[in-house]
Amino acid sequence: MTAVENARPRPILQVNDLTVHFPAAGGKVVHAVDGVSFVVHEGRSLGIVGESGSGKSTTAQGVMRLVPATSGQVVLRDEDFLAMRGGRLREARRRIQMVFQDPFASLDPRRQAGELVAEPLRLLEGLSRRAAADRVAELLPTVGLPPEAAFLYPHQFSGGQRQRLCIARALATAPELIVCDEAVSALDVAIQAQILNLLRRLQQERGIAYIFISHDLGVVQHLCDEIAVMYLGQIIEQGPTASFFSAPRHPYSWSLISAAVPAGPLRERLKARYLVKGEPPSPIDPPAGCRFAGRCAFAVDRCRTETPLPRPVAPRHFVACHRAGEIEAPDFSSGEMARSA
């Protein structure tokens, strides 16, 4: 591979205008995901952050075809993943795998670990029981589990070890992309660090790309090259991680950041100014205009009537806010420095 190719990785997955709606009681519609677009590049990580109801998990499940997309495209390499059937679908599923949030719920309690890790191999590659078992024995050490773990049942593992099993299972078919849906959220901080380091090591060794869904900005900053912030089914800001965290532009991004800053004067200052009150409104029949307008301290009349479109504010950094250029961005220098300035 040449240096040029390294510098500009090719896209693996392009999601174009993905929309997932669910019917709700009374003929209403849940706008879980509403026109989401992003690109994942080879060997890179895209983080999707947002609160509950933002549609980040539904986006992941829509990409994985675990929920039907209402409209939009999911292009894997050059093919429409959502239109695939039969053998082509099986072949494509080998290349895109998933790790779920709850390592206690995502493993079938009645089957041995080895069988669970082998499942994608048996289903997608048609391997015999023995051949699959051999592959499992090779896989388990790469996620830090001894090969004998194959003979144990899920309840005999700790939470972190179960998540390692889930990762082994996702790795089994040597995928190009793994979708991690809140994959470390249920774990203790110490175990979370182990899993994050494991994911990062696997990425470096195998060139795997990740879509990393999380509510934890610190974790996303640590692991991801790009970040997309979702609010009520839409991406409101998206860009390279460094660009986003050095100068976030959307008021909702500021709110998320102010809730995540470590304790200290900076946190107090940001919280007082930018932390939004209340909770996100329901995604059932959301209001017209900017969906954040109802909670935004900077909203003007235009925000409540006209939907803001994403526009570039820095290289590959987009924000969907009418007032992105007008309102002053937060000052992230620590408390004392701000006072002296």
Binding site: S52, Q161, T241
Partner: protein
């Protein structure tokens, strides 16, 4: 002034067919009125067990071996069951991790808050309802009058946790135990709930025991911190001092584990590799009298596994650590 809560030498064990297994060993701490202590550690380190022991709600099979728990001078380990019931929900109360399952789905929010008031404070229905309404307003629930008659399922997670807080604080308890109260909530809601707790504490003077696995998230609302590992307190001190200069390798490891947000100019660089603590908390029954952290510790020497874990030793006036090789202060 005597402390609101004084836990001394608390030792809890699990009775098994094969013998008794220690769960908590010689845990001691004190908490003054209006103060907050954080109990920090991974799952399985005994944080929740400490909370249940204080509330007198140890699960079947777990028994208090020795030690005392003084609530405003009264030893709750020795009081008769009726007295303990009178204290629970009145002088001391608890909020749980999962507000979804901790509320009874078939009663309205108002009824559930009233229950404790009528039981413990002998208020009439009318008076209890008025207090319940005042509490809902105090926890900043919008449209409190209507929410009083709402059922739990009609509320969002954040609202439910506010209702839990309203219930727990309705009788103005001396002590509130909060077991990971915001883990199930969104980040911005978490920040609001912590602010609310702090505000109500200042108003009522309630002492709070806050259980968490992430010290960084709660550092600004706690005064002291006790770090638990495998049922033992390994470090205990003022939060700021422990945060700035953690002396036990486990405390240091815990702090280094969670990725810290880098903002502004600091965001440009490549992230440093995350430090991790290898391995797992040893399960019950596999905890030697020597330091239980030694197998996961980079600083461990032969001495650590050969000798019993040292008792907590003062490093500065209020800061104690239990380690043969505490970290140097300067490195912080």
């Amino acid at each position: 002034m005597i402390p609101i809560l004084s836990v001394r030498d608390l030792t809890v064990s699990l009775k098994r067919a094969s013998g008794t297994v220690p769960v908590l060993e010689r845990l001691s701490f004190e908490l003054d009125r209006g103060r907050t202590i954080a109990l920090v550690g991974e799952s399985g380190c005994g944080k929740s067990m400490t909370a249940l022991a204080i509330m007198g709600l140890l699960p079947d099979g777990f028994a208090l071996e020795k030690g005392s728990i003084l609530l405003d001078g009264e030893d709750v380990t020795k009081v008769p069951p009726a007295r303990l019931r009178a204290l629970r929900g009145n002088a001391m109360s608890m909020i749980f991790q999962e507000p979804m399952t901790a509320l009874n789905p078939v009663f309205t929010v108002g009824d559930q808050i009233c229950e404790a008031l009528r039981l413990h404070q002998g208020l009439g229905r009318q008076a209890a309802m008025e207090r319940a309404l005042a509490m809902l307003k105090a926890v900043q629930i919008p449209a409190a009058e209507q929410r009083l008659h709402a059922y739990p399922h009609a509320l969002s997670g954040g609202m439910r946790q506010r209702v839990m807080i309203a219930m727990a604080l309705a009788c103005r308890p001396k002590l509130l135990i909060a077991d990971e109260p915001t883990t199930a909530l969104d980040v911005t809601v978490q920040a609001q709930v912590f602010d609310l707790l702090k505000e109500l504490q200042e108003e009522m003077g309630t002492a709070i025991v806050l259980i968490t696995h992430d010290l960084g998230a709660v550092a600004d609302i706690t005064d002291t911190v006790a770090v638990l590992y495998a049922g033992r307190c390994v470090e205990h001190g003022p939060t700021l001092e422990v945060m700035e200069a953690p002396r036990h390798p486990y405390t240091r490891g815990l702090m280094a584990c969670s990725p810290h947000l880098r903002l502004g100019a600091a965001a440009a660089g490549v992230p440093e590799p995350l430090q991790e603590i290898p391995g797992l908390v040893p399960p019950l029954g596999q905890r030697p009298p020597s330091c239980a952290f030694a197998p996961r510790c980079a600083r461990a020497t032969d001495k650590c596994s050969a000798q019993d874990q040292p008792p907590l030793a003062a490093i500065s006036p209020d800061h104690e650590v239990s380690c043969w090789h505490p970290e140097e202060r300067a490195v912080a």
